[in-house]
Amino acid sequence: MGIVEGLVSGLLQAISLDVFPYLFIGSVFGLLIGVIPGLSGHFAMAMVIPFLYSMTPEAGIAFLLGAHATVAQGGGLTAILFSTPGTGQNAATLLDGPPMRRNGLGAMAAGAALTSCFLGATFGAVTLALLLPGLQQIVLFFGPPEIFVLAFLALTFVAVLGKKDLTRSLIAALAGLLLAMIGLDNVTNQERFTFGLLELRDGLELVPVILGLFAVAEVFELWVSGGSLAGEKSPALTARATQRQIFQGVWAAFKHWWLVLRCSAIGVTMGLIPGLGSAPAAFVAYGHAQQTSKTKETFGKGNIEGVIGSESANDAVEGGALASTIAFGVPGSSSMAILLGALFILGQETGPNMVTDHVDVVFIMIFTIIIGNFIGMVGGMFLVNPLSRATGIRGGLLVPVLITVIFTGAFAVQRSWFDIGITLLFGVLGYLMKELNYSRAAMLIGFVLGFAVEKNLYLAIQLSGPYFILDPIPLTLAMITIAFLAYNVWAIVTHRRETRGHAD
């Protein structure tokens, strides 16, 4: 089957009556799962799996991927309106989403987030389609040496995030790296920093850490300061005003199309690399958006570009992750591992044969991502109004509800009571960090990339010897890292000099 033929057949199947209803139900289900903090894409997919046994492969794929595609959109809404990341990949949205809400522009941020998610996912899906012919060479590009250097490059974005206070950001990032070391070390079989607790043997789970650092910390703040999430400045908007804001947000996302494109490209690239996941992709995209923005100073205070950048990256990741899954049957993320298992259940072969023999199935996936995200975008818009009204509720009523939902989400990941404690601990830590102006984003990046940096460095040395860094690709990437770092240090130094000049 040729690619064009497959494209047409895939599209026709995706919108046929046998498939589309499942796609629709899946997308709405994913959106709602995303709204609930702690429940993420692979949870939605795992819940769908038992239904697959009685489905045709096409319907099953649409149902499953639809549920997965919209999760980030739902999570973005929660991130913006409740300062609680609905899923891990929305953590970067917290940097500028909630400040916009406090400025009375919550609905606009939500509209922009939903749209950039859709655009990012579409970009990811289209890229996947374009890459199909040369997919295998591209995925094989990334081995331990390349991933090590790339992860390091991503780590240097910390410098950008912490431009205002580099020292504190570095402290936070390095503390994050230390947190990543907790648990059984794969290489030496030694337990590190577990204090003899069996629960810490597998290391800290990502979701409780994110929920604690960002969500619980925010709830604490609301509790301490009183008032409501919406903030003093913004009286509750009428439904019509909310609607108008949403469409302004949609328009803003289209207006920043160049930014969306660049951040989506970052997302796709990071998705291609197995094991990096979508949370760092969003942060890297955020850092890039800030770096290239004309209004750098307002980042973190409610700049819509920050929302657009991170949300377009976190859904574009899936296109990249899907690429390595399809090309070799090597899953790029935990969700993709579930997808792979599901494809097995549905009797579909993955790997090169899928691209040559079942290219229509690949296109069903591509169209599912695009259509699913479109449904998520429209469906999400209907959720904005009711949800944003809830942000007007005074803290005394909202805090208990939020705390219940957050802790349930933290528990649900592994059914672990211990994780509830972790969430609480990181909640206190996150609150203190926020009050004392330490970057929580820097800590999270350090935490997430710590694994990738350490493990891949070890493997790179084992496989290619200590001089792996001198191989052409790692060397090029290392040069870029150094240049990037140097530019930033230079920018910080001049920035400091300037502000000092002003003070004089």
Binding site: I49, G143, P144, G275, G329, S334, E349, A390
Partner: protein, 356 residues
């Protein structure tokens, strides 16, 4: 104001209601009309909930098996089977939880048999269960381990690997993990000088390294290797087990190579111990102390479920092999696996601890 708040919390409450309704429906299912009155254990299980502990996350092989089998177990027990994922500590968290579960017979679990036996032998911290004390219900599948190599590597037979001039790189996940233990044990049994590179995050990353040509091959279960083999990218060069697998008629088992060794007795002893670990496979067990009547009922129900033609067909089409073994056989297998000669046991303990 109050009504407004209630109205706008809809997305949460709708889900809550759905869960509540589902739970109610589950509890209040009336017995089907005309069915014969159930007695004894059958009456006890009828309409109750069985919690089936899976010691790994949703989406993995263990989870897939459980979700594949649970409808048939429901049919044969009359109970509702809840698949309950308790990931952590390499499967030990779920096993500990199962070991200490209430003795009502309403909690069962599948366990990673060979890993649990080895962890107990090595006295690993966190192994708070006694593998011999579990009440076994039956086995889902036995492990068939295979050594796969990528076809691009140029090594396409075990002879070529054994006689290679360079040190061949074999990938593995964590130090002391099953892919690592297989590699070092076989290395030791045949005095091979393979370079075992561990520290890969998961078996899929190992496979990617094979594709890139960073390593030649890896150990793994036949179930996880079958895809790439069918597609013609990987080739199995050696398999565990005493008999060749029907799907792999041309691949020698490790036992077939014993005669070539200078000291065949030692090789045979190592391989026998290794094989007895694989035979434990993935058994379903209940905690010690469950009333015998309920155990017998569960065993009969599991036996029935595992022999449902529909399940067998589904398992076959989705590439998930089933090797049922009865509770009795499981007890024999466990005894065999835990009673290795001292020198062999010491060898395995060193392998698990990563000292080999």
């Amino acid at each position: 104001m109050t009504t407004r708040i209630l109205r706008h919390r809809k997305p949460f409450s709708v889900i809550g209601w759905l869960i509540a309704i589902a739970a109610l429906a589950a509890c209040q299912q009336p017995p089907p009309d005309g069915a014969p009155e159930k007695t004894g254990a059958a009456a006890y299980y009828d309409g109750r909930n069985i919690r089936w502990i899976i010691p790994y996350s949703p989406g993995g092989g263990y989870d897939e098996y459980a979700r594949l089998i649970s409808p048939y177990l429901e049919k044969h027990t009359g109970a509702r089977v809840d698949v309950y994922n308790l990931p952590g500590a390499g499967g030990m968290r779920g096993a500990n939880e199962l070991y200490n579960a209430p003795k009502s017979g309403l909690t069962i679990g599948v366990i990673n048999g060979s890993a649990l036996v080895m962890n107990e032998l090595a006295g690993m911290r966190g192994a708070d269960y006694k593998i011999a004390e579990f009440e076994y219900i039956g086995r889902v599948v036995a492990d068939r381990r295979v050594l796969v190599v990528s076809l691009d590597s140029g090594y396409t037979s075990i002879e070529a690997i054994m006689n290679a001039d360079e040190r061949i790189k074999i990938g593995a996940t964590g130090l002391g993990g099953s892919t690592y233990v297989d590699a070092v044990i076989v290395n030791e049994a045949f005095d091979m000088n393979l370079d075992i590179i561990h520290g890969f995050d998961s078996s899929s990353v190992v496979r990617q390294a094979m594709l890139r040509g960073n390593i030649v091959g890896t150990w793994g279960s036949w179930g996880s290797a079958v895809d790439a083999v069918v597609e013609g990218r990987h080739k199995v060069v050696l398999q565990s087990g005493r008999e060749r697998l029907a799907e792999l008629p041309d691949v020698p088992t490790a036992f077939e190579l014993v005669d070539r060794m200078a000291n065949p007795d030692r090789t045979q002893a190592i391989l026998s111990a290794w094989e007895s670990l694989h035979e434990v496979g993935r058994p379903v067990a209940a905690p010690p102390g469950v009333p015998l009547e309920r155990l017998e009922f569960l065993r009969a129900a599991f036996d029935g479920a595992m022999h449902e033609p529909e399940l067998l067909a589904k398992a076959k089409s989705s590439g998930r092999p089933l090797n049922f073994a009865s509770a009795e056989e499981m007890r024999r297998v466990i005894t065999e696996s835990t009673s290795m000669p001292d020198d062999i046991r010491a060898l395995f303990v060193r392998a698990i601890k990563g000292e080999l």
